[in-house]
Symmetry: C2
Subunit: 166 residues, 2 copies
């Protein structure tokens, strides 16, 4: 089976290939310029994937990760990419100085001063619950097993297998 992942992000493509490759799903990538709408994480994701499927004329997967701060009732959420770009890891921490909790979820964890390899997004400032490690401090297998991306792709894999058997 082959599926097109709409992304221009090499880090995301690498992870998706690692995860779906194990299930014999081949992953192509294509970069499409799709404006993302504002809204809840779910609304943003649904609108993006629908538009991508129209443009591509076929099945594809898109991704819109969100990093939600508990102190902000879930924000920055889908806007985390802008905050990361403008404020950096240190700024994401500073935003929370006035609040009682640094809890955050992609999956659940907390915002910490950057630790580990700083090359991929907000991985260095997100410490996943019960691991004591930031995403950036984990080996890729370890991260993929517990990460938001890993879990989403696991669900996708189950869905695709269901299609084939029905």
């Amino acid at each position: 089976m082959k599926i097109t992942f709409i992304t221009g992000n090499a880090g995301k493509l690498r992870e998706v290939r690692q995860i779906l490759g194990a299930a014999n799903i081949e992953v192509d990538s294509q970069e499409l310029d799709i404006p993302e709408v504002q809204g809840s994480t779910r609304e943003v994701a649904i609108a993006k994937c629908k538009r991508a499927a129209e443009l591509l004329g076929g099945p594809c997967i898109t991704e819109d990760t969100a990093l939600c701060f508990q102190a902000f009732n879930g924000l920055p959420g889908p806007y985390i990419k802008y905050f990361l770009k403008e404020l950096g890891h240190d700024g994401l921490n500073k935003m929370l100085i006035g609040f009682a909790t640094t809890a955050a979820w992609a999956l659940y964890g907390r915002i910490v001063p950057a630790r580990g390899n700083g090359q991929f997004g907000w991985d260095p400032v997100f410490e996943a619950e019960d691991t004591g490690k930031t995403y950036a401090e984990m080996a890729s297998e370890e991260k993929n097993k517990i990460s938001h991306r890993g879990r989403a792709l696991e669900k996708l894999e189950r869905y695709l297998k269901g299609l084939n058997s029905s």
Copy 2:
């Protein structure tokens, strides 16, 4: 002259009528559900107005205010509405505790603990430069003279007059 302002916000409509009414421009309003894209303030505004004009089949004005924190390099910007909704006036202040500056611009000013009538958006926490007052502490004529909305509509008025004379 008559123009349609795409808004469901009574406070915004009241201000736009006050400002453009003085120039004999009649303002109708209509509520349209237009998804706002993510992006810079300018990109968000252009996409929104184009889409509104398509749906309406004629000239209209839309508005997307942004409140930009200097410490955040311009963010939350167009996402300020979500931050205001989830965090309130107090939360907007707390977000800046870790930073050296509370400077912000819609036009230029700074984020302060809420003062004045708290009914209209972020007016109570935005103190306009050189006024010593928050928007919420000003009479409407005073606010309209200096506000982001007043200035934008002044430009629109000049533009419309230019159209008529050409």
